[in-house]
Structure formats: structure tokens, C-alpha cells
């Protein structure tokens, strides 16, 4: 197959960069008026988008581990998205600088009673230097794995052959447990430690479930964004759309399964040190948000995604992908904000920096990924299974 490099996307990347600078600049401006609130908004946006990048990495690794062939046509997009983990390492710096405003354990002397005891007990793990070192470690692993997979795949564009496919499969399978564990610990560090009263071993899986689902939504939107020659869309058939839709259906269900499991275990044990996390989200103005998630993050998308016709229609599937990205943000917001603000009774109180931070970080990631797509083939043209993927027709 002829190697056609993708040289478009220049204006998209520039426009996304402008939006990113504007969004992040406005968030910074908000920081001058209300530093704590702007930091909270930024931290939520960071966790949301970074999770999607790692989710995309895990999607690719899981498919490599399973020796999946159908997805080869969209793989270049899927392996370029996680390269943005290098960007997220940089975007983590504001969180690190402002961690005193975000995490209660940074300075236990501000805390009282039980919370202070917990913070001091966890000091050996939850302290600023070790926290920074761990996050650097997670990103080190994600950056290394994503660059190796992307590097081998792009090398194969010109070299061809099966050896580079084997390397990707071996690394995909072999590094999967470590990448998954890094994501679990990142969930513990970035989200769960915001509330010293949250004890949930399933929490990492909860972050993973939502992020993995949102990664499929981003992948669907990314491949549907352009019909330019050499990009996957022009080569895909309805069976590819169907499978991507099936993955969204499966992980809408998986997210609900994990979310409910976490709730049920805490609700049924009813322990005084565990229930405050749910009380803050059910006996307050946050209750409608929880109900919204049950209905619009599970029940409605589940029944809508059951439709075969919808999954085979790229436009309808893109609509559902946007839907998923919105409800996933509501989910992350619902998990983090009541803990960040320590005042769940005072209501949801959204702030304009929530929007600027979300758009700013997201646009930065889009600009980065589109820029990294340029100059390479838009599909892995050297992959021996590409032709099989193009003919994909599950029987």
C-alpha cells in the first residue's frame, strides 16, 4: 500500500491552540479573582482529560493484547491520542503548585479531630514530595508506553513486516497491568485523597470505567471529524462504526456496574467513616446530579445504544459520543467538586472557570494530538492486518 502522509489539520491545530490559550488564559485570570475556585475548576478539567488520554492508551493496549485486527484502520488515531500524556505532565504543574489549596492532607495542622488523625496517619504516603514523585512516575510510564507503541507502529509504515506488530502486541499485553495500576493509583492520588473519608478500593476502576468509555467517544469523534484522504473515515465501513458503538454500549453498562457496586457496598455496610462521602452527595443539593447520572449516564444511553441502526450511522454515533463526553464530565465533577469545596450544603454553584478550564485543557489536547497526527500516514499502512481490517465484516 502507498504511504500517504496526512498533511492536513494545520488550521484545526492552530484554531484549537488559540482556543486553548484563550481558555487557559481566562482560567488564569479567574485565578486572580478567586485562586481556590479556579484551581478546583482546573484540577477537575485536568483529571477529566488526562483520564481520557490514558483510557485511549489502555484501549489500544487491550486490543493489542487481544490481537484485534478489525481496529487497525483506526489505530493511528488511537495511538496518537495517548501521546498527549506528555502534554498532561506539563499541565499537571499548576495542580502541583496549587496543591495546598486542593488537598486537605498537604497541611494537616489545618484539620481537626478524626480528619487530622487520618491525615497524620497517612503522612508516609500522602505527602507533597512523594505525591509529586508518584505522579511523575505514572506519567513516565504512560509516556514511555505510548511513545513505544506509536514509534513501532509508525516505523512499520515504511519498514512493514510482522516483527513490529509482535513487539506492539507483547508490550501491549505485558505493560497492561502496570498501566492499569498506575491509573488506579492516579485515581487514589488525584481524586480519592481529596476526601480523607473516602475508602473505596474500587475507586480506581470507577475512574477507569468512565475514562475508557470517554476514550471511545473521543475516538469516534476524532475519526468522524474528517473525511480527508488518507484518514480512517474514508476507509471505514459500517461494521467499524457498529463495533465502536458496541464498545460504548458495553462500557456504559460497565460504568454503571462499578458505580453501583461502590454505592451498594458503602450503603449496605453503613459505616460511619464511609457514608459521609455519599451523604455529601445525597442529602444535599448534589442529589439531583446523582440521579441525573443514573438516568443519563446509564439508563438512556444504554437503551439508545441498543439500536443497531444507530450504531451503524456515524452521525448518530457522533451525537452519542458528545453525549457521553458531557455526562462523563458531570460524573467527574460530581465525584470531585463536593470534596474539593468542603461545602456540599451550599449547593452546586458552578463557576465560569469550570467552563474555561474544561475547554482550555481539552483544546490544548486536541491541538497537540492533531499536530502529532500530521506528517505521518493517517492509518498504519505497514500493518499486515490492515487489509483484513478494511474488509472487516463480522459473521
Amino acid at each position: 500500500m502507498k504511504v500517504t502522509r496526512f498533511e492536513g489539520g494545520r488550521s484545526t491545530a492552530i484554531r484549537a491552540l488559540v482556543v486553548a490559550v484563550a481558555g487557559l488564559g481566562l482560567t488564569l485570570l479567574g485565578g486572580f479573582f478567586d485562586p481556590q475556585r479556579a484551581l478546583q475548576a482546573y484540577h477537575v478539567a485536568f483529571v477529566y482529560w488526562a483520564g481520557i488520554a490514558v483510557g485511549a492508551l489502555i484501549v489500544n493496549m487491550a486490543f493489542q493484547a487481544a490481537k484485534a485486527r478489525w481496529y487497525v484502520v483506526v489505530r493511528r488515531v488511537l495511538e496518537t491520542i495517548p501521546l498527549s500524556s506528555a502534554l498532561f505532565l506539563v499541565l499537571f504543574v499548576p495542580v502541583l503548585l496549587g496543591m495546598g489549596h486542593l488537598f486537605p492532607w498537604v497541611d494537616p495542622s489545618h484539620l481537626e479531630g478524626e480528619l487530622r488523625r487520618l491525615a497524620e496517619h497517612r503522612r508516609p504516603y500522602l505527602n507533597a514530595p512523594f505525591f509529586a514523585l508518584r505522579t511523575a512516575g505514572y506519567f513516565g510510564l504512560w509516556i514511555a508506553v505510548s511513545h513505544l507503541l506509536h514509534g513501532w507502529s509508525t516505523r512499520q509504515d515504511t519498514e512493514g513486516g510482522a516483527a513490529l506488530t509482535l513487539k506492539q502486541r507483547r508490550l501491549g499485553a505485558g505493560a497492561l497491568p502496570f498501566v492499569g495500576l498506575a491509573m488506579t493509583f492516579a485515581a487514589f492520588d488525584w481524586q480519592m485523597s481529596l476526601d480523607l473519608h473516602l475508602f473505596s478500593t474500587i475507586f480506581g476502576l470507577y475512574y477507569f470505567a468512565g475514562s475508557f468509555l470517554a476514550a471511545f467517544a473521543v475516538l469516534i469523534l476524532a475519526v468522524n471529524a474528517s473525511r480527508a484522504e488518507g484518514l480512517p473515515r474514508a476507509l471505514m465501513n459500517a461494521n467499524h462504526d457498529h463495533s465502536l458503538g458496541k464498545w460504548m454500549l458495553a462500557f456504559v453498562s460497565f460504568w454503571a456496574y462499578i458505580a453501583f457496586s461502590q454505592y451498594l457496598l458503602m450503603w449496605i455496610a453503613n459505616l460511619p467513616e464511609e457514608v459521609p462521602w455519599y451523604l455529601a452527595r445525597s442529602k444535599t443539593a448534589w442529589l439531583p446530579v446523582g440521579i441525573f447520572l443514573a438516568v443519563f449516564h446509564f439508563i438512556v444511553p444504554f437503551f439508545v445504544l441498543l439500536s443497531r441502526g444507530l450504531k451503524r450511522n456515524p452521525r448518530a454515533l457522533s451525537f452519542m459520543a458528545v453525549w457521553i463526553l458531557i455526562v462523563h464530565y458531570v460524573d467527574v465533577y460530581w465525584v470531585m467538586m463536593p470534596a474539593l469545596r468542603h461545602d456540599p450544603e451550599h449547593g452546586i454553584a458552578p463557576h465560569w472557570t469550570d467552563l474555561t478550564a474544561l475547554v482550555g485543557v481539552g483544546a490544548a489536547a486536541v491541538a497537540f494530538v492533531v499536530w502529532r497526527m500530521r506528517g505521518r500516514a493517517g492509518v498504519p499502512v505497514g500493518d499486515p492486518f490492515l487489509e483484513e481490517s478494511l474488509r472487516y465484516e463480522p459473521s
Binding site: Y257, Y263, L264, I268, L306, R308, E393
Partner: protein, 177 residues
């Protein structure tokens, strides 16, 4: 019965010829067609004019019945028939009912798929007259076969048509064989 059915069996060497023959027979008004092959045939669904499988609908009905039945069963047992106070949670306590509701939903959905498929495939029919044709056994080995269930008086013209369409061999199996 107006006229007994006859099965016309035709062997083809490649999938394009078989699909073309299936399309031609449908143009001639023969709707009861089937294809027999040891490997998946691309485009055969469209060539045979198969409608969308009813299995997903059967699974959905089974799943919804499982969810409703599982939930109602627990509500009736725990809140109506034999109320026991467990940790003061209330006799009808929705979260405790969800795991069982999920399980019964999955169970009935999967059983509906299995038995629905059995029913659609004509199970437990163990024998069919076409098995009497010696040559048809190659459908499980290396040959592609098209079968058409036609009225007895149509068997002759359909056979000739299939030969014209490139069938390697054509056999006719009358119903009461």
C-alpha cells in the same frame, strides 16, 4: 395441501456464482431459499434477502422480563409475603434488590437467546429429506450449496435455471421421501 414441496439443491464452485443464483431465483419469485457452506459467505444475507434476525428482540423481551420478574419477586417476598427487619433498612429496600434483578435480567436474556435460536432453527428437528442426497454432504466439507424449497410443479424449471446459472450439479428431493 395444494402441492407438495420439493427441494432443489444446487452445488456451486464459488460464492459469487451462488449469490448471483440466489438473486436470480428471488427475481423469479422463489423466496424460500437457503445456503449451505462450510465457511462464512460474504454478501449471502443480502443475496438470500434475509430479514433482520429477530433474536435481538427476543433477547430484549427476555431481559426486560427477567429484570421485572426478579425485582417483583424480591419485593413480594421481602415486603409482602414474609417481611423481616434486616438492619432496619425497610422491607422494600431498592438497592439490595438490584444485584438479583441484574442477575435474573442477564439469565433470562441469555436463555431467551439460546432457546429462541433453537426455535428459529427448527430444533429439535433431527432429520430433513435433503440429507438423503449423498452429494449434499459435501456442504460440510468443501462445497457451497444453494437450496430452494419450491412447489412440485416448479421443481423442473428451477432446476434448469440453476444449471444455466452455473450449478455444478443439481438434485431434486420431493417432500415425503
Amino acid at each position: 395441501m395444494a402441492s407438495a414441496a420439493t427441494w432443489v439443491l444446487a452445488e456451486f464452485k464459488d460464492e459469487a456464482a451462488l449469490c448471483a443464483a440466489a438473486r436470480r431465483l428471488r427475481e423469479l419469485g422463489q423466496q424460500r431459499l437457503d445456503a449451505h457452506s462450510p465457511v462464512p459467505l460474504h454478501g449471502i444475507d443480502e443475496a438470500l434477502g434475509l430479514r433482520k434476525s429477530p433474536v435481538p428482540l427476543i433477547a430484549l423481551i427476555g431481559g426486560v422480563a427477567g429484570v421485572a420478574g426478579g425485582y417483583l419477586m424480591q419485593w413480594w417476598m421481602n415486603a409482602v409475603d414474609f417481611p423481616i427487619n434486616v438492619a432496619n433498612r425497610g422491607f422494600h429496600s431498592p438497592p439490595t434488590n438490584i444485584p438479583i434483578t441484574f442477575e435474573t435480567g442477564v439469565l433470562l436474556a441469555s436463555l431467551s437467546i439460546v432457546f429462541g435460536l433453537f426455535a428459529l432453527c427448527g430444533f429439535p428437528r433431527t432429520h430433513h429429506p435433503v440429507f438423503e442426497t449423498e452429494g449434499f454432504r459435501t456442504a460440510s466439507v468443501d462445497a457451497l450449496w444453494l437450496s430452494a424449497e419450491v412447489k412440485a410443479e416448479d421443481a423442473e424449471p428451477v432446476s434448469r435455471e440453476l444449471e444455466k446459472l452455473g450449478a455444478v450439479q443439481v438434485s431434486r428431493v420431493p417432500e415425503g421421501l
